[in-house]
């Protein structure tokens, strides 16, 4: 018969829970890197490793498309100066917003709309990044993917050059995979 029918073990999970929480408190200030945290750091870094066509703008904007999964994690980077330009974050939903973006992030939950967004930025100097599976292969700029215990990235060099963007050789070297272009 299961132990459940006897009396005392019933309290055990509760005590266990209390112990676990107390242990947790002491560790609460250890700051783990979650996947969205790392992805956010990646997006900011891409701004340093990709060269945009010269322009007079004084800001660089990361646009978050659709259902926002990174906003809270990017907010700590907002206002930083990257390559002499102030970093802005903006939520976007429509093609008219694309003119404000240097980088647009499309979360995997918006996978069905990737084609539309890529169409919106055609011919514009905008870098599209996503964590959706197969994004780079299907014409996206940079795909973030989780392999093993790390977040890595795939670059579609052909797409980047079509948008007038120039990835640094260091970035291409660090990429998990580079699609198109001559490496």
């Amino acid at each position: 018969m299961p132990a459940a029918t006897s009396g005392s073990p019933r309290n055990r999970p509760l005590r266990w829970l209390a112990a676990v929480l107390l242990a947790g408190v002491s560790l609460a200030f250890a700051q783990p890197d979650s996947e969205p945290q790392l992805e956010s750091a990646y997006l900011v870094n891409f701004l340093k490793y990709v060269e945009w066509p010269t322009s007079k703008r004084t800001t660089t904007t990361i646009c978050l498309f659709g259902r926002d999964t990174l906003g809270p994690f990017l907010s700590s980077h907002e206002g930083r100066v990257i390559g002499g330009k102030e970093l802005r974050i903006r939520r976007v939903n429509s093609p008219d917003d694309m003119q404000y973006c240097q980088l647009i992030y499309i979360p995997d939950v918006e996978e069905a709309r990737i084609g539309a967004v890529l169409r919106w930025i055609q011919g514009m100097p905008v870098l599209a990044a996503s964590n959706a599976d197969g994004f780079a292969r299907s014409g996206g700029g940079i795909e973030l993917l989780r392999t093993g215990g790390r977040v890595q990235f795939v670059v579609n060099a052909e797409t980047l050059s079509r948008h007038g963007l120039n990835p640094s050789s260091q970035m291409l070297r660090l990429a998990n995979q580079v699609i198109g272009g001559d490496r």
């Binding site: 299961p2 132990a3 459940a4 029918t5 019933r10 055990r12 509760l14 829970l17 209390a18 676990v20 929480l21 947790g24 560790l27 609460a28 250890a30 700051q31 783990p32 890197d33 979650s34 996947e35 969205p36 945290q37 750091a41 990646y42 900011v44 870094n45 891409f46 490793y49 259902r67 926002d68 999964t69 906003g71 809270p72 994690f73 907010s75 700590s76 907002e78 974050i89 903006r90 939520r91 939903n93 429509s94 093609p95 008219d96 069905a112 709309r113 990737i114 084609g115 539309a116 169409r119 599976d133 299907s138 989780r146 215990g149 790390r150 977040v151 990235f153 260091q170 660090l174 998990n176």
Partner: protein, 688 residues
Amino acid sequence: MFQKGKILNALSISYAAAAFALAVAWHPVHALQDDDLSLEDLTKTEVSSVSRRNQSLSNVPAAAFVITAEDIRRSGAQALPDVLRMVPGIQVAQVDSGRYAVSARGFNGRFANKLQVLIDGRSVYHPFFSGTIWEYDPIPLEDIERIEVIRGAGAAMWGVNAVNGVINIISRHSRTQTGGMVAGTLGSNGQRQLYTRAGGSIDADTTWKLSAQGRHAQPSKQLANDRYSEDDLSNGVVDFRLDRSLSGGSNFSVWANAGSSSVGDLYPVTPNLADLQTLTSVPITQKVASQTVGARYRWLSEQGVESSLQTSVGNTSIELKDVFEVTSTQFDLDYQGRYSFGSHDLLWGASHRTVSDEVWSRYVISVAKPAFTQHTTGVFLHDNWTLIDDRLQLGLGARWDQTNLGGDTFSPSATLMWTPTRSDTLWAKYAKAPRMPARGEQDVSIYVGYRPPTASFPFPVVLKAQPANQPLHDETMEGFELGYRSQLTQQLSMDATVFQYRYSDIVTSSLGGNSLLPIGGGIFLPVQNLDRTNGGSGWLSGAELSVDWLLMPTWRMQLSYAFTHVNMDDSANSVTQGQGLREERSTARHYGSLRSQWNVASNQQVDAWIRGSSGIYRTLSPYPSEIYVPGYVTLDLRYAYKLNKDIELALTGRNLVGPRRIEYVTDYVPATPVIIEPSWLLSARWKF
């Protein structure tokens, strides 16, 4: 009550723990150390090994929760309803080895009718019973990419019957399922499960997958006498999918799905109508079979309109051996368009569904029309209008549905979402949602039980539930919700919702006339008719909370809690009044869980899940008496060990603590309550 005390104790500990956690972890979102990490450092940084991502979507103006494929696997659940237990506000109660009662925000029942369930946009809500047949596996759990659960009225977008919530199951793209896989489970209580899959690519743009799953469970023990009941379960499902990417962002998918489910039951019935007091248990087998084929085409127009056209045809049959059988053929056609311009994001769509059924019944069930075809056509329009960039968004939507069973309905919704910071979202929602009467409610008469002799009337009376003379029309729900969502720190997030809804014209029983039932030998039994009318009304209010906390890179905890209060209006009709009271008393006020996901090592996971519910009262058919289903707190544990990147072994224990208990008693049909026992499961997954 002993159990009640325990529940309160456990719940108060959970609250205290959550409050403590909040207090400790409450410090402003700090700048990340990763600021100065180079790209090279980033590629080498170990990411938190638990959970791919946060389940909350910060800018959705609704009570939304996302279950990821990893959550499903780590839950140790063998059936879809057990996965849904982690969602705040979704109440899941296991009836027996295969049957479940699942609802959002109260009004639960085995035939709970206010929750819409969609798989890739296709409804699996059964139009005859007005509910989901949970004992049937519509898709293997391994084939699910994620489940998006939206509580609250969703009819303005998802159509009728999305009253208390919508469960959107999104299946995995075949691109992510190339190669082969075998997963098997062996467990106590005769639980067995085997899943196999093969997939591949035809060319660079075309991939396919074929999967099959079988599942079996042996009967449970009866509450009354510890003898085995008859609820042995045998399920099978085969699922095929082919996806092709076309140029210009278009894509095309086809799928085919077939499944069957067989689960027994033990009906306490009266073999001798002259002696209604004597009950005999009769085994009855219920068989469900379903086949569907469908296709979807998504394309982009030159003007930037995103379109999706989806169609499917299917056949479903439900058989209660020698008593009842319904076969239905359904056809669905669904178009959705989307066009974003300026500060607007416009969605519109039209859908049509035809369901033709044929019914056969005898003994206690009779159906007014042996065949019927129901047509439902709907159109909707929705606009998300950004009033202030990054700050304020207004959503307005409406849907019209027209059907030849129940009439026309109009479902409006309005939302306002304010995001004062990137980490905080405050939203408000008004919505109205209809539930259409089901064919089973409109046309079925059933002898549901009897009333024993009383002092004033010293004869047993047979109770007959039947449609009233007046046709039924839609039930409606209308109300408000408020929600607040916050990423308190990089590791801690919370999501809270409060709501109040008003229901009117609920389909309920009312005291009807009397008749006589001949039982042979010139003897007649008095019959009390219980007429189904749109006579019910009432209030629903409640609150839901979920907290997600990544304590360490390898350890994450998630709390979910829901308070639900149903308050039906008093009725002058004694039967309606009684049914309203039963509805109130069968809603669990407190329902919650605390999950811990811990990666002990890179190849080992230890998961714990404490779940609990407060007690409810259920009616025990065929007696019109109530039975108390005590509240419970129980524990699931799972240990998984990865031999290499392709092979994983897991040991799962479910329902491990707490007294012997039943979790639910089914509605309408005669019921034999069974014990939900602790169980152990050993699973292996192999990808190749």
